[in-house]
């Protein structure tokens, strides 16, 4: 069984690429940090990660310009990556990038409006948050029920419906019906709809979350020095295991 290969995209103000690499490595994967200006062939990778940071300084909205650049450089390749059954994670700014790329807006044949608005306080916040997981549908969250992770963002408020109250409910219900509402805060820090901290797509392969699991891969990183709930590392192990388990399958198909 070959080692799982992860591509981590950085540059233009992304800043969590190194700890994201350490997290995947601790889960047994082989990682390549790729600058956004150096286009790579995604076929060489099993997992794609968009780490946290402040791409383009959050100017024009977090993730906006970085997503434009990804779309320009990679076009449909990101969607194809998912179609090939490969997992993608977007953490914090990476989640914002994935949202801007529209990876969460397709529900079955429908399109919904979902985005990450400024925190209701208007302020950046760094705090550790207790989270509940509803993760059966998401390959990244298998076996996790409760998890304690740091959030560090100014634009993490999950919103639906683009300001239209009816659409808001309708859009959210569609997500919920498919079990894509996978991660919730115990105490809502930013005004997110229904306390949402993370979402996955229809396939369960694409996972976006505001909290930072890569900053919780060892007990010493927790504020009290001991782990509460599952270790953040579990997410990365889940994805690596998923790839390993499905490697055989894709070989059979070939």
């Amino acid at each position: 069984m070959s080692q799982v290969k992860v591509c981590i995209i950085t540059g233009d103000g992304v800043n969590c690429e190194r700890e994201t690499k350490r997290a995947f490595e601790a889960a047994g994967a082989l990682c390549t940090i790729t600058h956004i200006n150096d286009k790579v062939n995604l076929d060489h990778f099993d997992i794609l990660a968009f780490p946290g940071g402040f791409s383009f300084g959050d100017e024009l909205g977090s993730g906006k310009v970085f997503a434009l650049k990804i779309e320009k450089f990679y076009g449909d390749e990101i969607h194809q990556f998912v179609k090939k059954g490969k997992p993608i994670i977007g953490i914090c700014n990476g989640f914002q990038v994935l949202a801007k790329l529209g990876l969460f807006s397709r529900v079955g044949d429908d399109q919904i409006k979902v985005g990450l608005a400024k925190n209701d306080s208007g302020q950046f916040i760094d705090q550790w948050s207790k989270l509940s997981v509803n993760g059966e549908h998401c390959i990244w969250l298998k076996g996790i029920k409760e998890i304690f992770l740091p959030i560090r963002h100014g634009e993490g408020r999950v919103v639906f419906g683009a300001g239209d109250v009816k659409a808001q409910t309708a859009d959210f219900d569609k997500i919920k019906a498919r079990g894509r509402d996978v991660l919730r805060y115990h105490q809502n820090p930013n005004g997110a709809h229904d306390d949402l901290a993370g979402l996955c797509d229809d396939s369960g392969l694409v996972f976006g979350l505001m909290p930072h699991p890569e900053a919780a891969i060892k007990s010493e990183l927790y504020p009290g020095g001991h782990v509460l709930g599952s270790l953040g590392l579990t997410l990365f192990q889940n994805a690596v295991n998923y790839v390993l388990e499905n490697q055989g399958n894709s070989h059979d198909e070939n």
């Binding site: 233009d12 959050d58 434009l68 705090q127 560090r152 300001g163 930072h212 990183l221 504020p223």
Partner: protein, 1017 residues
């Protein structure tokens, strides 16, 4: 580019469909009796040539339909007033630049200018519209959201015809900010055939900040035969060119040369009668301490006082470098810009340290006047023309937040100190720690600096503009109403992040031989300093990219435009260096090469415009001769006294009030806006304990995550005690060091691996007719340096880097027009960086019922300089208590002994938690240890006096001990000769009990401590 070069200009307004709250601004209007809703929009002016892109293109590039609505045509007017904030021509516009980049991805070449547009809808009592009250409220609103030094801030009232006309035409008649420079670009010679008075006048009008003797030295130098002969041969004027005089002024500025620390001082202590002469405070105390400590066996210093930052080796794999800077003057004028350029500037110091270090942590310390000052005193007494403390704090805080967060560097430690004497000038300290591989892949030491003759000189990063001219000299002057606006700048964290990523990649590929940052003095300093390594340099200023045409050569030479680094590149690597820069989207320009001519030769195109002898440039500045007088102040002089609260009736009341006072209260709402843990290595956080609520004592970084040894961690803490400087400046220095050291000791640092940084911020210490107390302030400086020397020696903690800022005074008027001078309290910030093992990391929170709480260390404390005294109206009698030890009697030997015993106890696993006793004394420290768990505590002795509980002093630590370790714990400290006192044990009672009828619930205490900082909104 001229305005006429664009064939079209569009205005786009973008609003959030689900906006966040605008509580603070709505509150501001409410203060004026106006209930209103504020809607914040972004607006852009976009200019281009040829075909205007389709609305779909604007939509795709500029907004997100799930979150925003964009308007490219005039929307209906649903507001009563509007405020527009946009940048003045030439000011860094990060949002505009990002938008230009976004358009260029899709093949559109445009110029973009950002702004913020506030729409104000009055909800009740629309009769106010058109009234003076309305106009006044809008005026106040403008002051709050913009700064006229860097921004155009305009308000509009819908009910005024002229304004309405503009409002309705704003999508059609659009102008864009363009820089127009009216002076021509030729180089002028500056005549020094002037009287002494005229020389001083020239220094003042050109913002040179040189004194008469320095001006005369330059004048005489140019009269030298050999100088004159060389200039004739070279075809230069016999008097200095404007480029030369400006370069000399930057290089010789107090900011760059630290002339006061290098001065000859006649010292007289009027209390003891002691008199002596000092040749350089720096050599006599600072450097001396480090040198002697090194001779006594400290073997982990790699580079001290020579590079941009101190470098130490606590870990065999990676070296640590650390630097702390101040950015006081710029922050006073524009708090956001001043602070963000401060933090990005000190990051560059680290990037330019050795062959380029990677920043892994930031620290920040601010000193302000109380945010309540305008309410507590007659506002007419406030200094005129300066921003109010709350506004300064908000701006400075936001600057440090953006600078750190957007660069991906965690802010791990800091403090905010309030004192009325900072009303004339706030202090803004920004620090950065970096890691440097001990050896690079190509075998070079990471700490090397190896520019060679013939290496190309490259400047990487941004273009220069008129912004940031005279920063170095301006900061060497007092603040007044003429302070130059060009010294104010905004930082661009994205460009700097790109430069940082590029630099580390280029370093690992071995693409350059030397690097340094561009800070004060711009390239005149960076190239000037690097040229010392080879003995000369030759550059052409015309090669440097500029933000707009029209800059004179001298302006290019000294502009402090941000985000630039200077490199020396071997000729064989030049192409690879440029290629990598291009691939990473970073601007890089070759300006010339390093030589060994002994001269800094500066060209503008073909013309030689400066020919400066390296020796004169770097060593020609005359030494100052100063007088210092040490007098007994005991009671501090101040410009205004604040009313104090009545003495509390009970200890619990005292505790509750102290927890709430600005200096002790949690700075949580501020601190949580910093990212503490990006890079995934912050193991000691500002808020610790299982729930992440309890206060942390120091910032602790996992070095293993950064390539260090297994189990290796770095710790950082800080100490400052400005109020002690009037009481006893020498004790002040010792207290600062003790506090900084104790902060990191309690987290598990090894007492044999601690280095220190000294940052002095002083009121003007030069005696002149305008500054009659200058000699006393210099006396305090001498005493501080002496104290610092003694304590460093005692703690075996070498100073590895430092900085000073010497003119922290305001000389102007108050709002009533009366003359007003405010000098800061002499302030020393000590930063301590240490090392330890992750397995021995201690946190401050008590976690289990039954944990015993001890006070470790000799009780040496007093109420004389304490928060208790600062906050409450007391009689002399209230200050006395039987266990009191006054500051002059504090024995720091005992503290040192305590720390060693503490370290051993922790190594043996005897300690569960530890917290230092600091502001507010034992009682406050005790409460803080309970906040995370919400457990209670009963004081076992009912005889504790107010003095025992609230006095402040060095060397004391509270520790939590699990009951099964009690015996071993007591035996250990008894063997070490360090006293411990059992104060009580954690219980589940949920309150702090002093006696059965005097207690405070933990919830109440916590609420008090987490004060509602309304000003943080």
């Amino acid at each position: 580019m001229k305005e006429t070069e664009f064939s079209w200009i569009k205005r786009i307004e973008i609003e959030e469909v689900m906006p966040s709250e605008e509580k603070h601004l709505e509150q501001l209007l409410l203060h004026h009796g106006i209930k209103a809703k504020v809607n914040r929009k972004a607006f852009y002016r976009v200019a281009g040539n040829g075909q205007v892109p389709s609305p779909e293109v604007f939509e795709k590039i500029m907004w997100d339909q799930a979150l925003q609505r964009g308007q490219i045509e005039l929307p209906e007017t649903h507001f009563d007033g509007a405020v527009s904030v946009s940048f003045l021509p030439g000011v860094t516009d990060n949002s505009g630049k990002a938008l230009e980049e976004a358009f260029s991805l899709y093949g559109h070449d445009m110029r973009c200018f950002s702004g913020t547009w506030f729409e104000i809808k009055v909800l009740e009592g629309t009769a106010v519209l058109g009234s003076d009250k309305w106009t006044k409220a809008l005026g106040h609103f403008c002051e709050e959201v913009g700064n006229p030094l860097i921004q155009q801030v305009t308000s509009y009232q819908v009910n005024k015809d002229r304004d309405l006309q503009w409002l309705e035409g704003r999508f059609k008649n659009i102008s864009i900010p363009q820089v127009h420079i009216d002076h021509d670009q030729k180089v002028e010679s500056v005549s020094l055939e002037l009287s002494d008075q005229e020389l001083e006048e020239l220094s003042r009008t050109r913002c040179l900040a040189l004194n008469l003797e320095e001006m005369q030295t330059i004048k005489n130098y140019y009269l030298n035969d050999s100088v004159q002969n060389r200039r004739k041969v070279k075809g230069l004027p016999l008097t200095p060119t404007d480029v030369e005089i400006e370069v000399l002024a930057q290089t010789w500025s107090e900011h760059c040369k630290h002339k006061i620390f290098a001065a000859n001082i006649d010292y007289h202590n009027e209390q003891t009668g002691e008199k002596f002469k000092i040749e350089s405070l720096y050599k006599s105390f600072i450097k001396k301490a480090t040198k002697e400590i090194e001779e006594e066996g400290v073997d982990w210093l790699v580079s001290v006082f020579s590079d941009n930052a101190g470098i130490v080796r606590f870990d065999q794999n990676i070296d640590l470098c650390i630097k702390v800077e101040t950015h006081n003057s710029p922050s006073a004028l524009d708090p956001y810009g001043g602070a963000i350029t401060g933090i990005l500037g000190v990051n560059r110091d680290i990037l330019g340290c050795g062959l380029g270090a990677k920043p892994i942590a930031n620290t920040d310390v601010f000193c302000f006047a109380s945010t309540e000052l305008p309410e507590k005193i007659d506002p007419q007494k406030l200094p005129a023309g300066l921003m109010e403390p709350a506004r300064l704090l908000r701006g400075v805080h936001k600057g440090v937040e953006d600078g750190g967060n957007k660069s991906g560097i965690p802010t791990v430690n800091g403090a905010i100190v309030f004192d009325t004497d900072f009303a004339g000038k706030p202090l803004v300290f920004c620090g950065t720690i970096g890691t440097l591989p001990a050896k690079l892949k190509d075998g070079r030491n990471g700490s090397d600096k190896g520019a060679k003759v013939g290496d190309g000189i490259f400047v990487v990063g941004g273009a220069v503009g008129a912004d940031g001219i005279h920063g170095a000299t301006f900061s060497s002057m007092e603040l007044n109403e003429d302070s130059p606006a060009t010294a104010v700048q905004i930082g661009d964290p994205l460009t700097q992040k790109r430069v940082m990523d590029f630099l580390l990649e280029a370093r690992d590929h071995g693409l350059y031989t030397c690097v340094t940052d561009n800070g004060a003095g711009g390239i005149s300093s960076s190239i000037g300093e690097m040229a010392e390594l080879t003995g000369g340099a030759k550059i052409d200023l015309n090669t440097h990219p500029r933000k707009y045409p029209g800059l004179s050569p001298w302006e290019i030479m000294i502009s402090e435009s941000q985000e630039r680094m200077t490199f020396a590149v071997d000729s064989s690597q030049e192409q690879a260096f440029l290629d990598l820069a291009r691939e990473r989207g970073v601007m890089a320009t070759r300006m010339g090469e390093f030589t060994n001519s002994g001269y800094l030769e500066v060209f503008y195109k073909e013309d030689l415009v400066a020919d400066l002898e390296m020796d004169f440039l770097h060593d020609g500045v005359p030494t100052l001769n100063l007088k210092a007088r040490s007098v007994s102040l005991k009671e501090r002089p101040t410009w205004i006294s604040l009313p104090k609260e009545k003495k509390p009736g009970t200890k619990s009341e005292a505790l509750e009030k102290l927890l709430h006072c600005e200096n002790i209260a949690s700075k949580e709402p501020w601190v949580r806006q910093y990212d503490h843990e990006v890079q995934g290595a912050t193991i000691g956080k500002p808020f610790s304990g299982s729930n992440g609520i309890g206060p942390g004592d120091s910032g602790v970084i996992d070095l293993e995550a950064h390539g260090g040894e297994e189990n290796s961690m770095a710790t950082v803490g800080c100490g400052l005690a400005p109020r002690m400087s009037s009481y006893d400046a020498s004790v002040m220095a010792k207290q600062c060091v003790d506090e900084a050291v104790r902060n990191i000791i309690v987290s598990g640092s090894n007492p044999d691996k601690i280095c220190l940084l000294d940052n002095f911020c002083w009121p003007d210490p030069v005696l002149t007719s305008k500054n009659p107390q200058g000699d006393i302030k210099l006396g305090q400086l001498v005493d501080t340096c002496k104290g610092l020397y003694e304590i460093c020696k005692l703690y075996k903690a070498p100073l590895v880097s430092g900085k000073d800022s010497m003119k922290n005074d305001f000389r102007g008027k108050n709002r009533a027009g009366e003359p007003l001078t405010i000098s800061i309290q002499p302030t020393l910030l000590v930063t301590a960086m240490g090392h330890g093992h992750k397995s021995e990391l201690l946190r401050s929170s008590l976690e289990e019922v039954g944990t015993l709480v001890y006070r470790v260390g000799h009780f040496q404390a007093s109420l004389l300089v304490s928060e208790y005294r600062e906050n409450f109206a007391l009689t002399d009698n209230d200050l006395n208590f039987s266990n009191e030890v006054r500051p002059e009697d504090w024995d720091f030997n005992k503290c040192q002994q305590t720390y060693r015993a503490f370290f051993k106890a922790n190594k043996s696993g005897l300690l569960q938690s530890a917290h230092d006793v600091s502001d507010g004394g034992v009682a406050v420290a005790m409460a803080e240890m309970l906040f995370d768990s919400g457990l209670g505590f009963q004081l076992s002795s009912i005889d504790k006096s107010v003095g025992d509980l609230f006095s402040e002093g060095p060397g004391m630590i509270l520790v939590g001990v699990r009951p099964h370790n009690q015996k071993a714990f007591e035996v250990h400290f008894s063997q070490e000769g360090v006293p411990v006192e059992l104060l009580g044990e954690a219980n589940d009672g949920g309150k702090i009990e002093f006696t059965s009828d005097d207690s405070l619930s933990i919830n109440q205490a916590l609420n008090s401590w987490r004060r509602n900082w309304e000003v943080s909104l």
